[in-house]
């Protein structure tokens, strides 16, 4: 085990040993790559091992050794054109005329003295993805994943000067700081949480990097995002990746200054690309490092508390007994009731919303989505903002879109292809799966929406109804399915469609609101408690669900009976919703199949909700004349 660990600590050694064995055989076809990839996969299967690989998300780039193994938790923001590279090439030593066959895989730059006319040159193809850190990732996710990670011992930190930019050389004086790392590293292994503080300082430290990034648009979907973006080179099976996939990429870091467009000394006649295109496609490697993918793990969720490996074996599902799920649910319900000003029904629906996810699509119809419209939000004391902060604490990824008139008219929600720079300019709706999108409609005031505004509202409507975003490719639109949990907070009924509207009935009088709310924030939940909630929400979403034939029958009978009594009482649409509510309710209780009780309960809360909405409408209608 120790042997494996050391190998993982020193991935470069390991990889170079493969290189050496291959080059000694002088045969690129010996399949060393396959062997190496297999080796790495084996290594990374180990639960412990992957934490020992430094992560680009946590460790500032200039602390990472070039050509070392790193990992990167990211979202595929754009896919560039495939590129052809020298898969194998021959170098000629100018003095000895000795020919050496080399492999060009996992590298950006060739060795010296390439013989371009050699017959042994093998042209191979690889694909480039532009990856950004998962948009809207909440701070707690970063903190936890950071504290889980161990940093490469600086013993293996050998600065290779000639390959590093000047900028980085300036940072050499931060070296002594790094000396601490071997000590903190092993510690974090035994103590998974809470020792991130000293390292946090380090991640925050290189502000020089962020300032220099400002002149280059790194194309993050959401405004105000930070973190490195990466050009990931994919060597095999790139068709299996899709735009907006979330991945954990393990690969070899390359930060060669030659890759910088500004430093390239190409004669202009040779350039096929415009200046903008060059800037976008070959940004300075110190800002956008290249990552040569060895292996990528798709992330079904990005909650670090729930090990992704756990999803594959069903053992974890049973390891969380129903009773426990139910008890956590009760606690969470109490907490959310508190947050929702004492409205237990709204809290119930909020839980259902938070665990909803599109689990299938029937032709165009996405199944399982549950867009919630919480109407009747108090406008005092910036309630919606506080509500969002609570949600932020609970879900791994979220974004609050304040639907102010200005935002609607100006924000770019839908990604658009920029043909000049040949890239997909991201928009706020380019989000990873199961991101919580909090639409704050209370911010909307009267006024005129311009063309962009109308388009943005339409895009939001499409997102909610069909769970898809039509990316703008100028000459045509392209539809990308998505899976985003949309929560709309509004005063009256939202102008956007929603699956379910619940009108908030605050138990707190408006004058005390301020006090009440600050009390919530004064006493935040203990982090262990929060972690329990976080784990619960992520876990409930992954459960399987089924309906037994018996219950199916009962449900059908129920529907027919309801219709018999009063055909107006339940339409097909209502039944649709009822089925979703029943499903989510069962899952929230940790039950993987629908029981009669859950069905009755779902019907009950639906009736409550509807009567409340009707009441509200009557109330409004009564006031109008």
């Amino acid at each position: 085990y120790f042997y494996l660990l050391t190998l993982a600590y020193n991935p470069l050694h390991c990889l170079s040993s493969f290189y050496i064995s291959a080059s000694s055989q002088n045969n690129p076809e010996s399949g060393w790559e396959a062997k190496a990839v297999l080796f790495f996969k084996e290594q990374l299967k180990d639960k412990e091992a992957h934490t020992s690989v430094p992560s680009l998300n946590d460790v500032p780039l200039h602390y990472l050794k070039p050509n070392s193994l790193v990992r990167f938790r990211c979202l595929i923001q754009d896919m560039f054109d495939p590129e052809f590279y020298m898969g194998a090439y021959e170098t000629v030593d100018p003095s000895t005329k000795a020919r050496v066959l080399r492999c060009g895989k996992y590298k950006d730059v060739t060795e010296c003295g390439v013989d371009l006319n050699s017959r042994n040159t093998v042209t191979a193809e690889r694909q480039t993805f532009y990856c950004v850190p998962i948009p809207g990732e909440n701070p707690w996710v970063k903190e936890i994943s950071f504290s889980q990670a161990r940093v490469v011992p600086s013993t293996s930190y050998v600065p290779s000067r000639q390959k590093r930019s000047y900028e980085e050389d300036d940072d050499m004086d931060t070296q002594p700081q790094k000396q601490r790392e071997p000590h903190t590293g092993p510690q974090s292994h035994t103590e998974p949480h809470g020792n991130g503080d000293c390292k946090r300082q380090e991640t925050e430290a290189p502000s020089s990097q962020t300032t220099s990034a400002s002149h280059l648009d790194l194309n993050f979907p959401l405004p105000g995002e930070k973190g490195p973006s990466c050009l990931v080179k994919v060597y095999e099976d790139w068709d299996s990746f899709k735009l907006n996939d979330t991945l954990e990429v393990y690969g070899i870091l390359s930060v060669n200054t030659l890759l910088d467009a500004s430093s390239s000394l190409l004669d202009p006649a040779e350039c096929m690309e415009t200046a903008e295109e060059q800037r976008v496609h070959s940004p300075p490697a110190s800002l956008v490092p290249r990552l040569h993918m060895i292996y990528a793990k798709p992330l079904p969720h990005c909650n670090p508390l729930l090990p992704s490996a756990a999803l594959e074996d069903n053992s974890t599902k049973t390891s969380v007994p129903n009773g426990e799920m139910a008890s956590v649910r009760t606690e969470l319900l109490a907490y959310l009731t508190h947050v929702l000003l004492g409205d237990a029904l709204a809290a119930e629906y909020l839980i259902l919303h938070l665990i909803s996810s599109v689990y299938a699509r029937r032709d165009v119809l996405p199944l399982g989505k549950f867009t919630l419209n919480v109407s009747g939000c108090p406008t005092v004391a910036s309630y919606t903002e506080r509500l969002y902060q609570i949600i932020q604490q609970l879900v791994p990824c979220s974004y609050r879109l304040s639907m102010s008139l200005q935002n609607m008219n100006q924000l770019r929600l839908v990604p658009k292809k920029d043909y000049v720079a040949n890239r997909l300019v991201s928009g706020a709706l380019q989000l990873a799966r199961n991101t919580s999108l909090f639409l704050d409609e209370t911010q909307l005031e009267q006024g005129q929406l311009d063309t962009t505004g109308v388009r943005n509202i339409t895009a939001l409507g499409n997102l909610i109804s069909w769970q898809k975003v039509d990316y703008d490719f100028n000459y045509h639109q392209m539809e990308f399915p998505c899976n985003i949990n949309v929560l709309i907070a509004s005063e009256g009924r939202s102008l956007l469609p929603s699956d379910c509207q619940v009108h908030l009935q605050p138990q707190v009088a408006p004058p005390q609101m301020e006090e009440y709310l600050s009390a919530i924030h004064m006493h935040p939940q203990a982090s262990s408690q929060l972690n329990k909630f976080r784990l619960y929400l992520s876990l409930a979403r992954t459960l399987d669900y089924s309906i037994s034939d018996e219950v199916t029958k009962a449900v059908e009978d129920d529907f027919v009976d309801m219709r018999k009594d009063d055909p107006q009482s339940i339409s097909a649409e209502d039944f649709h919703r009822l089925l979703v509510v029943a499903r989510l309710l069962s899952l929230s209780l940790g039950q993987t199949s629908l029981s009669r009780d859950s069905w009755m309960r779902a019907k009950h809360i639906e009736t409550l909700r509807r009567s409340r909405t009707e009441q509200q409408q009557q109330c409004v209608n009564g006031n109008e004349p």
Binding site: P82, M86, V109, L116, T123, D267, T458, T552, R583
Partner: protein, 860 residues
Amino acid sequence: MSSPTSTPGRKRARTDNPSTPSNDAATSPPSQRRRGQDSSTGELPPMPTSPATDMLSPAVPQDTSLFSSPRHSVLPSEVDMSSPLMYGTPSSRVEGTPRSGVRGTPARQRPDLGSVRKAPQVDLHSDLPNDDGAAVSDGQNAGQRLVIWGTDVNVGTCKEKFQRFLQRFIDPNSTEDENAGLDLNEPLYMQKLEEISVVGDPVLNVNCGHVQSFDAELYRQLICYPQEVIPTFDMAVNELFFERFPDSILEHQIQVRPYNALKTRNMRSLNPEDIDQLITISGMVIRTSQLIPEMQEAFFQCQVCAYNTRVEVDRGRIAEPAVCRNCNTTHSLALIHNRSVFSDKQMIKVQESPEDMPAGQTPHTTVVYAHNDLVDKVQPGDRVNITGIYRAVPMRVNPRQSNVKSVYKTHIDAIHFRKTDEKRLHRLDEEAEQKLFTEDRVQTLKELAAKPDVYERLSSALAPSIYEHEDIKKGILLQLFGGTRKDFSQTGRGNFRAEINILLCGDPGTSKSQLLQYVFNLVPRGQYTSGKGSSAVGLTAYVMKDPETRQLVLQTGALVLSDNGICCIDEFDKMSDNTRSVLHEVMEQQTLSIAKAGIICQLNARTSILAAANPVESQWNPKKTTIENIQLPHTLLSRFDLIFLMLDPQDEAYDRRLAHHLVSLYYQSEEQLEEEFLDMTVLKDYIAYARTYINPRLNEEASQALIEAYVDMRKIGSGRGMVSAYPRQLESLIRLAEAHAKVRFSDKVETIDVEEAKRLHREALKQSATDPRTGFVDISILTTGMSATARKRKEEVAQALKKLIQAKGKTPAMKYQQLFDDLRGQSETAITKELFEEALRALADEDYLTVTGKTVRLLA
């Protein structure tokens, strides 16, 4: 090749490869009797040392003068230069088309074929080491087979084969419109050559598919070694041409432009193996660069002795002569720009067309270089098929940098462009969007078509998540297939609409939108708009100033974009009148006229319209007619072939089935998934195939059945004194019957098709045109907007009102409200305000009274 030799060298191109058997080159054009390469025993005695003799062909006597001097120098290099195969060899990029000296037609350079590959010929059987690329055996040795180095192409054979192809190829089944006007039973390309001689456009487009069917081996060579084979083709065609039309004068020599190379269709499938091969890809132009003058030949002049020298550009570089060859001064040569030779070049970015893309990925782009007259042939937004040579160029090695990027730059040197959407403007272009169906696929589709219940199967496969509404689905299915296109323009009727338009009305939340979304996703050229959000401009077209070129550009809207597709319009009722009015023309004439910003044109919009409308009162009122419920002008409604109501049937058995359907939707079991025997792709292919290949015609019985059906429809009404069917209904029936025949993959419209069309039409009418007052189906509701009984009632009320007023005696003015109350009091049936107003209006039309504000005045 620096020095004076280079210029004559170009002219000498026609010398062919002196290394090939001499007879090949000598008695070139139509002499097909020779069998080419192996014949070393030609009529001419082998003349190894002086290839110039090759030129002494009787056909080209002038040639001799051109091949004069430098021939006797070192043979190998000479061969290099004079060979037509030297296109793009680094040393002789300037090599143009083989210019037959005939009539001195100048050859034109083909930078599109330029490359870095060296291509001397080698003898396959010789054991000469050819690594150096210069090994050329002298071709006179018997039994030897000469090929271009690195390939298996023998110039002589290749040329001969191509000439044979040109002279013999006949494609009687040609449907390409390029061949319109040609006699299909005569050799196609000979006719094209004739055309060239008449028109004088020296470009011969050759369909690679034809080459393939004629000579697979030649085709393979063309695909694999385009850079060598195309010049050979050029040579062959010029020889043939000037043989045949010795008097024609062309601007330059004919260039062969192959297209439709089947090697690669999709940009995504390009891979390193395609490098330097002839490929055809389809895509959309997204950017074009400005014109780039590319130097082909640099002109240097010695500053000391004014000695001129030309240097060809090799891989974008010019080797500047250091020493003047005349006066031996060093560094005395200066580049004279305006005596250098440049060629036009343009960079074009092409993006994958959206249809070719796998879901969830972004489109790829490729750089294409267009040369000479291909420059500015395409504009951004054009859909094109590009045939060209795929190139990969290593990133330039900078001498100052020790290591280089290991990435190649790739691009395509375009040889041929073919716009796929251009033709849409004047002619139906089935061929361009014709999907390539594999034989297997066609087989599956045909098997499916043979099933007796194919119609039911397909309709149930349509939007399976939407429950029941079988007839609506059937209607939409027929819409997807469409009728047969007919052209009556000779008789002045214009095009006969083949598209079927459908309107769905019904309560909100009856999954109308979902159905529309489904259809939109199913058809390749679908557009989805919402009546609320679309303006007339968004539907039709608008003129925009291109920010870059300052040109006015016509941007097409949803209706034009969905030409040959389906335009789904949701919330049809929310559309402004202005917007709706553009639909009138589209829905019957299938064209769109635009007159704005100085642009007057008529665009084709042969689109089917699938619209959904909500009732005005949010809930469908069964007591009212369709028109009253949705408040759409009847002029528009009558253009819909089928109008369906999607209502909640409210009966128990239905509820039960619905419940079951919905529950199973959410609980997907394995067997349920399998039940969906037809997935969307099969359905898509099925429709595409039927639309492309099946053009049913009415047979005698069917025509009779249609006539009967129409007469019957007319009869129903005539009994009650009203018109119950119009020719439009008959046209609808014909379209529906044709579409149903297409579903069956049948070329004949038979009685069963007519029956189904009748049934469906009747069902739709039953739903939408039933007069709620009488319970009868009344077509006039849809055609005139009012049922016959309603019209009668209106007249009655007007008469009653008139009587009432007359009874009042000589009061010239009355209060509006009072009159209304009086009438209400008098009448035994309820009179609504609308009815009253209509009656007033009717009387006003008779000039009996006028209404001003709240008073009613009698006239005269």
